[in-house]
């Protein structure tokens, strides 16, 4: 009997990944292709971000992928001066939430944006990002 293949692609997500196995591992492959993606239920059409394998509305397990595209509105953010273990090298960094109407996206602000140009209500886009340790995530850029 051969060794069972473990699909642990999710370990590539984020500065530190805390989990490696999920049914939505394709999210990471899509990040590698430059796309940030959510899932859309084939049964009832509900859009999910972050992506889910199971629909809580209609209990369907049939999902399509959709790409996060266009502009979202910055709902809120915070710039961190302290970080949890494993994130110190990223400091300072800002976590933030973008509102796309049908769904929202939690992530980080592009660190090249000057502090005084960040305003709640501004339009931003979501883009894939390769971290200095080779891990993948996504960041919000000025639209």
């Amino acid at each position: 009997m051969g060794k069972r293949e473990v699909d642990d692609r999710f370990k590539k997500f984020g500065t530190v990944s805390f989990t490696s196995i999920t049914k939505v591992n394709d999210f990471v492959t899509k990040l590698e292709e430059g796309k940030v993606s959510g899932t859309c239920c084939k049964g009832c059409g509900k859009k999910y971000f972050p992506p889910r394998a199971d629909c809580a509305e209609c209990l369907s397990r049939e999902m399509d992928w959709f790409d996060v595209e266009g502009k979202g509105i910055l709902r809120t953010y915070s710039k961190l001066e302290f970080a949890p273990i494993g994130f110190e090298a990223d400091l300072p960094y800002s976590i933030a939430l973008l509102d796309y109407g049908d769904y929202k996206v939690f992530g980080r602000l592009d660190s090249s944006i000057p502090d005084d140009e960040v305003k709640v209500g501004m339009e931003m886009t979501t883009a894939t990002n390769v971290l200095s340790n080779g891990q993948l995530n996504y960041i919000f850029k000025k639209a």
Binding site: V16, K79, E81, A83
Partner: protein, 388 residues
């Protein structure tokens, strides 16, 4: 339904680096409540043990607590909703009593935050959110509440100075609460003094002074049915309303970033059950893990209209002499926040207030008191209303 009343309340001092085990720590709050109730452990028919297990090395703490506190062979079990664990424990005890299963139930909350090393604690801080989708971005508790502060400021024009006033109030009462971990004064000027640690940024717009004091501690609330409460309690205090709600862990699943909806829903449920409105509340304990959390609680509980919480603190209405005294025991900010013990400690304060036994912290002749206790970043909301 019969009434559920409070037979005894107790808590340990909240301290940094408690010099004993978690069992010895829990014993302090428990024995304090037993002395208050003047009952024996055999009068207690079940126990509910509450903590956040990520800080405990002990697995399944309910069993070792029941043994150490002398409450075997009575049934015991464990409840966890992060920082609101002991409020949830009280809700469970309420249901056990109302169902007729047990006539007297002890709710024991504890947390020895120093049980694990500070590096381990830092590591757990990073896992405080959804570990799949949010923790990988480097999130932590102060930053989440800071996002709510930013949301509140953007929507209502609240300022960091408004938030500082809440910390100044808390410190006023922390100084007179002998159980508080932080007993020093905090002045408004410290938030503007670069040499004061209070002014150091943590996660914008929150500063060190906006964050609660870490502490080890325990609490205990002993509840009984109407008959037992009347038999044992010298000055009965009754649970009049009890509400609880939840919201999504992921911020992406939420719609409001200027208030905590689970706290608001829990409050509405508790007011409805008690048959009263916010104007009837004479004294309140609200979950002020960060200054912004107290500000949002003013508004979510109806003490102020949305966006007008800042006016309440500016006019000192939430001081002891004001129209709605809030956290006049120092709150989490100064009294300290040993996660699993916090809700029970808040309830102890309110019960002492309603009995007229709150000493220097006593407000004038309160009839109704409210406890608002939040778990996680607004994830679990719990509101309990007490009356004489």
């Amino acid at each position: 339904m019969g009434k559920v009343g409070v037979i005894g309340v107790g808590q340990s001092s909240f301290v940094r680096g408690y010099p004993g085990s978690i069992k010895e720590l829990a014993f302090e709050g428990f024995s304090d409540a037993l002395k208050d109730a003047q009952i024996k452990t055999t009068d207690i028919k079940a126990s509910v043990v509450c903590s956040s297990p990520e800080y405990d090395k002990q697995r399944s703490a309910a069993g070792v607590m029941a043994e150490y506190l002398g409450m075997t062979p009575q049934p015991t079990f464990y409840v966890e909703t992060l920082c609101s664990s002991s409020s949830t424990g009280v809700k469970l005890a309420y249901a056990l009593i109302e169902s007729g299963l047990h006539d007297v139930v002890a709710v024991v909350g504890f947390q020895k935050m120093s049980e694990i090393s500070s590096a381990e604690s830092q590591e757990r801080m990073g896992r405080g959110a959804d570990i799949q989708w949010e923790s990988p971005f480097g999130t932590m508790m102060p930053a989440y509440y800071a996002m709510y502060a930013q949301g509140h400021m953007a929507k209502y024009g609240t300022t960091p100075d408004d938030l500082a006033l809440i910390r100044v109030k808390s410190a006023t009462y922390g100084q007179i609460n002998e159980k508080a971990v932080y007993r020093k004064p905090v002045t408004f000027e410290m938030f503007h003094d670069p040499k004061s640690p209070m002014s150091n940024p943590v996660a914008s717009p929150l500063r060190v002074g906006d964050c609660c004091a870490n502490a080890d501690g325990s609490s205990c609330i002993i509840l009984g049915n109407e008959e037992m409460t009347k038999r044992f309690a010298k000055k009965p205090v009754w649970i009049r309303g009890i509400g609880a709600a939840s919201t999504t862990v992921n911020l992406a699943g939420r719609d409001v970033f200027s208030g905590l909806t689970a706290g608001e829903l829990a409050g509405a449920e508790a007011y409805k059950m008690a048959g009263i409105t916010p104007q009837h509340i004479n004294v309140a304990e609200v979950h002020d893990c960060f200054t912004i959390a107290e500000m949002m609680a003013y508004e979510n509980l109806g003490f102020a209209k949305p966006g007008e919480g800042k006016d309440l603190i500016k006019s000192k209405e939430t001081y002891k002499e004001g129209s709605i005294p809030v956290n006049v025991d120092g709150g989490l900010l100064s009294k300290g926040h040993p996660i699993g013990a916090t809700g029970g400690s808040q309830m102890r304060t309110i019960v002492l207030q309603l009995r007229g036994e709150a000493g220097e912290m006593q407000v004038k002749d309160p009839e109704f008191g409210l406890v608002h206790n939040i778990g996680g970043v607004g994830l679990y909301g719990n509101v309990t209303i007490f009356g004489r």
